[in-house]
Symmetry: C2
Subunit: 234 residues, 2 copies
DNA sequence: TAGATTGTTAATCGATTAACAATC
DNA sequence: TAGATTGTTAATCGATTAACAATC
């Protein structure tokens, strides 16, 4: 007879941590948003079927996804809304706010500084950086703008590990290198530039071009299809 | 003996068009950007191996991806830079500029109106819409701001089919419904809201939360790992 | 107990990668 | 011809989905 040890949340072995599937991680914020809505409405539990129905997914996919948080549901009942919120927040590191710098105080940087939704994602913008003397010393959406030369100093002093890159394409790589020198561990890249970074620095790109490509291709196909139907009709 | 008809770019059959793999479509803009750089430098041909090396991909993946454009390379030589640019632009519908409206002239909408990179993606912002009387009648980055009530009228008159949604979360669904009423065929959704749209309207979401989730999870893991090493060392 | 819902195990699906013959 | 590189066919990999026993 064999005894099976229970190894729930067994997220690493000798060779290193087992990476969570990326599509799953990307869906977690949608779950979290829905769960928060349910929590406000006073719901105590929720089933994978209801989550799936609201988000247009399959119940089995919801259950598979939620497993990576390590939380178990109760057969016949569902998942505890509160426990699930906590588990997802913990998994994403959104249980405590993460301080972040915005590098580049132009149109996009300013807009991001003014985006109040970041609080829901555990993100706290503490300052912006720019090389424009006209901007340095001012405040944007209540956050101070410092000269880019002060990035290294202030990153160390304020223990900031995350930088949001929102400069022009031409300045992107140089600014990213400076962020690396400042000891930032992660760069959220809003520029269209494919950054070349030293290993160990986490880079996540908000790829507008990729997103627009999907939209454009579908639109081009839809218009082509419509023309095709037209021709067939006439 | 069987004669095989050549059916390159055979993208649809009786049951409808074969969808191009989404990951492939998302990588096309990166190829396009690199190819344009090569074109400026005067290169006539490029091999899948060089493209792969520059973008950190596998040569075979590059060749597979490029096949959906319908363009063939030349064995022993590579791909024509110019022909490949044209093929990708055509596939994405970026060969002719697409006019677009921005709905929401707040921080984000204004920033998007000022983003000059869109020209490279075949996108032409022609106007913004808002319900704030203080903004209506002004110009943002050279584009007129109209009252949201004029959306339906102007969309028809100007033959605009694409709308960029950049309003607040609370206004998102209502604005999206209006865009549908205005006959827009596609919505590029910059809000965190999961829109409920009638079938046939293309919606592509720029999912900041999903992107940040990937970053946060990696950052949380990295920090946890570091702590683990520390403990083991001490 | 009966009904609801979970988590596991296996099957399917789609994307990536490997091997290599075909071609310039 | 020899070297380089493509496109095809098959193998692998990872994510999604299906079936169902286990559990509340």
């Amino acid at each position: 007879m064999t005894v099976h040890m229970e190894l729930s949340h067994d997220n690493h072995d000798v060779t290193g941590p087992v990476r969570a599937p990326l599509p799953t991680v990307r869906r977690l914020p949608a779950y979290l948003g829905l769960l928060r809505k349910y929590a406000v409405e006073g719901a105590l539990t929720i089933s994978s079927a209801s989550i799936a129905a609201e988000l247009g997914l399959e119940p089995i996919q919801v259950r598979k996804d939620l497993q990576i948080t390590g939380l178990s549901g109760q057969p016949g009942v569902g998942f505890s809304v509160e426990a699930l919120i906590d588990a997802i927040e913990l998994f994403l590191g959104w249980d405590n706010a993460t301080d972040a710098f915005i590098v580049g105080a132009g149109n996009l940087g300013s807009a991001l500084a003014g985006y109040d939704g970041f609080a829901l994602y555990g993100l706290n913008i503490v300052a912006l950086f720019d090389n424009d003397p006209a901007k340095v010393g001012t405040e944007i959406h209540g956050r101070p703008v410092f000269h880019i030369d002060r990035l290294i100093d202030l990153a160390w002093r304020m223990h900031v590990h995350l930088g949001i890159l929102a400069v022009s394409s031409t300045a992107a790589q140089q600014a990213a290198d400076l962020m690396a020198d400042a000891g930032l561990q992660a760069v959220w890249n809003f520029t269209p530039v494919q950054l070349k970074m030293t290993d160990g620095i986490i880079v996540e790109k908000v790829d507008l071009a990729a997103s627009l490509a999907v939209l454009s291709n579908r639109l081009a196909t839809a218009i082509k299809d419509k023309r095709g139907v037209h021709n067939a009709d006439e």
